[in-house]
């Protein structure tokens, strides 16, 4: 991937209504769009076809947990979160969030990846440099 993309990122916006999972990257000069696209789709096939190691899943859960705990340290972020979860229906959901992550298993990840990463569900922007 490092020889293909000068930078690449995977993220989502955490929207209330159904959102978008995004993968975007800037291509190394000289690499074609087709090669870059193929490389990303191969990574995606992996996560659909190979079940992740439980340790690897625990690692990303721990990382998420530490991000949440760090955010919750300031009274400002606690205020934002309480308001946001109350908007979702109940501020106490804020206290249940960690548990929701801890429940995620490698099988759930694979199953969710298979649901999302379907060809008919994909939107692609080929953004070419004119120069």
């Amino acid at each position: 991937m490092k020889q293909i993309f000068s930078s690449i990122d995977c993220y989502h916006f955490g929207t209330v209504d159904p959102g978008l999972l995004v993968i975007e990257g800037k291509l190394v000069k000289g690499i074609s769009m087709a090669v870059a696209e193929k490389a990303v789709l191969e990574e995606i096939e992996k996560i659909k076809n190979e079940i992740l190691d439980a340790k690897e899943v625990q690692k990303v859960i721990n990382k998420t947990e530490s991000v949440i705990c760090f955010e919750d340290m300031s009274i400002m972020n606690r205020a934002h979160s309480l308001a946001y979860y109350e908007l979702l229906g109940d501020a106490d959901l804020m206290n249940k969030e960690l548990g929701m992550y801890q429940r995620v298993t490698p099988t759930m990840i694979q199953h969710t990846a298979q649901q999302i990463f379907q060809e008919n569900n994909r939107n692609t922007l080929y953004y070419y440099s004119k120069s």
Binding site: D17, P18, M76, L82, N121, R122
Partner: protein, 268 residues
């Protein structure tokens, strides 16, 4: 575990209090249940324009920033496709200043012609700077309109077009305010070195007299299941080619939401 207490005023304003006595500060946070997704498709960018207008003076207070700063407070706000959030942090002993400021904004804005002109210009400049002139700045505009055909996530918070902001009239602005910026469409959260009883009294005193508005019933079009892959070619004056792919995922209440969030961590 974050402890909090919750009560509701007669006008529908929900109030949450979280006490933390380890800090001398307090935060007053007002979330309005309105985001870019609630906009009229022909008048987009309003939720975000309001984020700016809210600092252009309210009915009894000509400037917002100055009295807050004099009380040692600071403030900011953000708009998303789902919500608009205003907050200020202030020494806890001066918390009533924040109640005074926030409640006057909820009561009514000043709706001055000058403020609308100024903020409209600011937002138009922001639009040009970040979404037109910046390299790749239009990518999300294009991606949203490619990925969404029905749901209002198809436009960005800045607006679907510059013209919508340019053409905003005072009537539009007032209508938007009195539809969404009402106590029954807001959540007030106070955190920090405060007592629930004290917050109750202040909330009643400052927010209690504000009249409730008509209940807002959100009824947004659902995005139909995508049946075929879609793509778009863009050519622009940017340094490198960029590949951007998106896939529809579940919303905040989807059972796969947390697994999806972790997938982005694994792939990221």
């Amino acid at each position: 575990m974050i402890q909090f207490e919750k009560f509701q005023l007669d006008n529908g304003l929900k109030v949450l209090v979280h006490q933390d006595t380890s800090t001398p500060m307090a935060v007053v946070n007002v979330l309005y249940n309105v985001g870019a997704k609630d906009e009229d498709p022909a008048k987009t960018g309003f939720a975000h324009l309001f984020e700016h207008l809210m600092f252009g003076g309210s009915v009894n207070i000509p400037v917002y920033d100055e009295p807050l700063q004099r009380a040692g407070g600071e403030n900011n706000a953000y708009t998303t496709n789902d919500l608009t959030n205003y907050y200020c942090q202030i020494p806890a002993e001066n918390i009533e200043t924040a109640f005074w400021l926030e409640s006057d904004r909820m009561l009514s804005l000043a709706f001055s012609k000058k403020s609308l002109e100024v903020q409209r210009k600011v937002v138009c400049e922001e639009f040009k700077e970040h979404y037109i002139n910046k390299p790749y700045g239009d990518a999300w505009h294009k991606m949203r309109s490619l990925a969404y055909t029905q749901h209002p996530y198809r436009w960005m918070t800045i607006g679907a077009s510059l013209a919508h902001v340019e053409d905003a009239t005072m009537e539009d602005v007032k209508d938007f305010f009195f539809q969404f910026y009402r106590p029954n469409n807001a959540i007030l959260v106070v955190t920090g070195n405060v007592e629930t009883e004290q917050v109750k009294q202040l909330a009643k005193k400052w927010f209690g007299p504000i009249e409730a508005g008509k209940a807002y019933v959100r009824n947004l079009p659902k995005e139909p299941l995508q049946e075929k892959t879609r793509s778009m070619d863009v050519r622009a004056d940017v340094p490198l080619d960029m590949l951007m792919m998106t896939w529809h995922m579940g919303g905040r209440f989807d059972e796969g939401y947390h697994a999806t969030d972790l997938i982005t961590e694994v792939l990221g």
